[in-house]
């Protein structure tokens, strides 16, 4: 600890620097979600060790970097499913997943329905992409707003013909 950090204002400045560096790593995930991002590279952006990066990111943004990236990729996949006719496999690769299996499991765990079930009935949203990215990024757990839910309360499997 430097003498600077001994005062309340000094501690505040240290937190603000840490916040800003962690935000740089979070922005990298928002920007380069399609790339094979890894924790060591993100930790370097935040000027901290890997273990400290994971802990401090969680303390600052409320979830681990891995979870943040998963939800960013799922949000981008949701957008592609709504706005393109690319196959589910193509969508999974386009947002940075290595395998369809991992993508499908992660998508279902976060959204509560399969990618193809999600795709049915969705239409493009005419708003700037940044706001779509911020506000559509699926919440932790299953707290999806009502209008984002499946067309029925039944499980997605029950909707299949």
């Amino acid at each position: 600890m430097t003498s600077d950090e001994a005062s309340p204002r000094g501690r505040g400045q240290a937190t603000e620097r840490s916040n800003r560096w962690l935000l740089r790593a979070r922005d990298a995930m928002d920007r380069d979600y399609a790339e094979p991002l890894d924790i060591p590279a993100l930790a370097r952006l935040a000027h901290v060790s890997e273990g400290y990066f994971i802990r401090s990111f969680q303390a600052t943004f409320g979830e681990t970097p891995h979870r943040y990236l998963q939800r960013r990729r799922v949000e981008r996949a949701m957008a592609l499913l709504r706005t393109s006719d690319r196959s589910v496999t193509e969508v999974s690769l386009a947002v940075g997943f290595n395998s369809l299996g991992t993508f499908s499991r992660t998508f279902h765990a976060i959204v509560g329905e399969s990618p193809s079930a999600y795709r049915r009935g969705r239409v493009p949203q005419p708003v700037p992409s940044c706001f779509a990215m911020s506000w559509n990024r699926p919440a932790t757990g299953l707290r999806i707003p009502d209008r984002q839910r499946s067309v029925s309360d039944k499980p997605a499997s029950a909707l299949k013909p």
Partner: protein, 153 residues
């Protein structure tokens, strides 16, 4: 009732550093830089554009030290929301030029129905967007609206 928006404002951690970034890197200009004694009234703007952006510090006595700390905390977490949107004739070229100057991007140029846009962070965490209008204006015509309504039942 009103004529226009003349000023909007963003919080920063340091006004000199803000000038280095917004004027030195983004090419905006300082419109007012006045020491009022109780505060430094610093505004910037795009050359040729009337609107000004107040570059304000969150600090006592305007707000309590505690509240100022909360604002700085939220600012550096990127949680204060959109600062403003700059327009450009060439989003990709602007992206290349600003990237070369070390400006941090949180979104690469992306084609959208409303044009091409990207997003940057200022040194403090403010979210600033850069947008290029679509080549063809007025694409959403009454005819398009009618077609959308039909397609969506």
């Amino acid at each position: 009732m009103f004529n226009s928006v003349t000023h909007s404002a963003i919080f920063v951690l340091d006004q000199d550093e803000a000038i280095e970034f917004y004027v030195g890197k983004l090419g905006l200009e300082v419109r007012s830089d006045v020491d009022l004694g109780f505060m430094r009234w610093l505004t910037i703007g795009v050359p040729g554009d009337a609107r000004e952006i107040l570059i304000e510090k969150a600090a006592p006595p305007a707000v309590s030290e505690e509240a100022a700390g909360q604002v700085r905390d939220l600012l550096t977490k990127g949680a204060l929301g959109l600062g403003f949107i700059l327009s450009t004739d060439d989003c990709r070229k602007t992206y290349e030029e600003l990237s070369a100057k070390g400006v941090e991007f949180s979104q690469q140029p992306t084609e959208q129905p409303y044009g091409t846009d990207c997003a940057i962070r200022d040194p403090f965490g403010n979210h600033i967007r850069i947008g290029e209008p679509p080549a063809v204006e007025g694409e959403i015509t009454a005819e398009v609206m009618k077609r959308w309504e039909e397609e969506n039942g």
